[in-house]
Amino acid sequence: MKALSENLKSVGGSADMAGRRGWIGLGTVAGLIALWFVLSGTGLVSSARFPSPAEFWVSLTQIATRGYAGGQLWQHALQSLRLVAMGFLVAIATGIPLGLWMGWSRRAEAVINPVFLIIRPIPPLAWIPLAILWLGLGDAAKIMVIWFAAFVPSVINAFSGVRAIDRPMIEAARMLGTPPLRMVVEVIAPAAMPMIFTGLRLSLQAAWTTLVAAELVGALAGIGFVLNMAQQDIYPGMILVGMVTVGVLGWATTRALGAAERRALAWNVAARD
């Protein structure tokens, strides 16, 4: 019985299987692209609903060279990227210290947690109208909602990270007379770091979702604005360009965060795989 189950496992994990997986994956993607050409070429999918590959290419070159919705693709992408980065950084700078503090001090937790509990159920996207009322259609309103979206996962994971630290480690540091500041910088923050990075991944995802929504509701530039204009112009090719750009930016920033995590957690074996 045991032999059989081990046999099954080894079949699933062998290098041959990994290679096979890669080939099937490649085949799937190639098949989908072929299907796209066939469906739009034969007119089975009308180009008023979904662009043909040629239309996609025309839209892409249009926005990349001549520009669309008031700017070229790189300008829109840069605008969105800048806002996400700023909101995300503000959220990290405020959320992680707050989470660490709430994790460290039971009193701080008792005071702050109830306020947190009543604000948290409101999804970040629901802050968009209020942010526009307060700060208008410019960058400030977007940074505010991104901050809100990315703040919550940062706080929660920093908090849980501290609470999950082995008590003997803290007691040992204490016994050696570690002063409070060194305690936070050299013991607590590093020990909570793997959990904090888990929170950052969630924060980053939330930041992109919120930014795209905020730019769709009202903006003057950015990828969400491109999507919005393309929707109003009923321009399927440009809609697809906008969606692909959102996906690429989300992928690239996730990769960048992953690289930062591997650097920061080089000491942590669990994070290396």
């Binding site: 099954l8 490649l26 039971r106 008792a110 109830p114 409101i122 629901a126 509701v217 999507l227 989300g250």
Partner: protein, 261 residues
């Protein structure tokens, strides 16, 4: 990080925190540091909430807006569960399907659900269909991932025993994988429900002619801040209610199966 505080101290400190928050908010708006039209007092928001329960704004009362939101929300989440759970289970069983779907799924994963708005509006309009697609896009991934993981981590002994008895593919999925993966699936549904609710709000802010998000956009256009904030309260309350109900369901299910809660 001392020992847990006694309940009484926790309650007092918690009361202080909440009281301080509400006092600060009220002070900011009554003293005029922030104009009251931009930051109404908590009392203004609550009374506006009460008024909206019976007086229509943007064509319907708050309960009516919520009802039309809920119709879209329910359809989107149910559709996500109806497609995501069976597909996830089948991917857990048929390796070929796994190899085919995973690259597509990985490619689409990085596109924020809200980015589907333009195509949703183009394909299905702004009534029910468009928002449903966006809610679906938000709620689908956790349904699929959790069903898949649940099916992959079924005890091999169960599968081997079933195989030895000559169980076919369909029975294997329905009678072995599904029951074994249920706790994981329900946990996924809870995440889906939350993400779906969030996507609904986003969808209605952008494309809709009714619903709670639509009400808030209209209020924003009219600089009716108390109505915007009353809408946020309603969204928070309903989201919390959905989560509590699903948590109860999850706990009940785990108890029934003799798992620790």
């Amino acid at each position: 990080m001392g020992p847990p505080l006694p309940l009484r101290e926790r309650l007092v400190l918690g009361g202080l925190g909440l009281g301080g928050f509400i006092a600060l908010w009220t002070l900011l708006s009554t003293t005029g540091i922030v104009p009251r039209s931009f930051l109404p007092t908590p009392f203004d928001v609550m009374s506006r909430f009460a008024v909206l329960l019976s007086t229509p704004f943007a064509g319907a009362t708050l309960p009516q807006h919520l009802a039309s939101s809920f119709q879209r929300y329910g359809s989107g989440v149910l559709l996500a569960a109806a497609i995501g759970v069976p597909l996830g289970l089948m991917m857990g069983w048929f390796r070929v399907l796994d190899d085919i779907v995973t690259p597509i799924f990985d490619g689409l994963r990085f596109i924020a659900p809200i980015a589907w708005v333009p195509f949703a509006a183009l394909w299905f309009g702004t009534g029910i269909g468009g928002p449903v697609l966006i809610i679906f896009a938000g709620a689908f991934p956790p349904c699929l991932i959790n069903a898949y993981r649940g099916a992959r981590f079924v005890e091999p002994r169960l599968i081997e025993a079933a195989r030895m008895l000559g169980t076919g593919n369909t029975r294997m999925i329905v009678e072995i994988l599904l029951p074994a993966a249920t706790p994981s699936i329900v946990a996924g549904l809870r995440v889906s429900a939350g993400l779906g609710w969030q996507s609904l709000v986003g969808a209605e802010l952008i494309v809709a002619a009714a619903g709670i998000g639509f009400m808030m956009v209209q209020a924003q256009a009219n600089v009716a801040t108390p109505t915007v904030m009353a809408g946020m309260v309603a969204i928070g309350l309903v989201g919390m209610l959905i989560d509590i109900l699903l948590r109860q369901f999850e706990a009940w299910l785990r108890r029934r199966r003799g798992l620790e809660v």
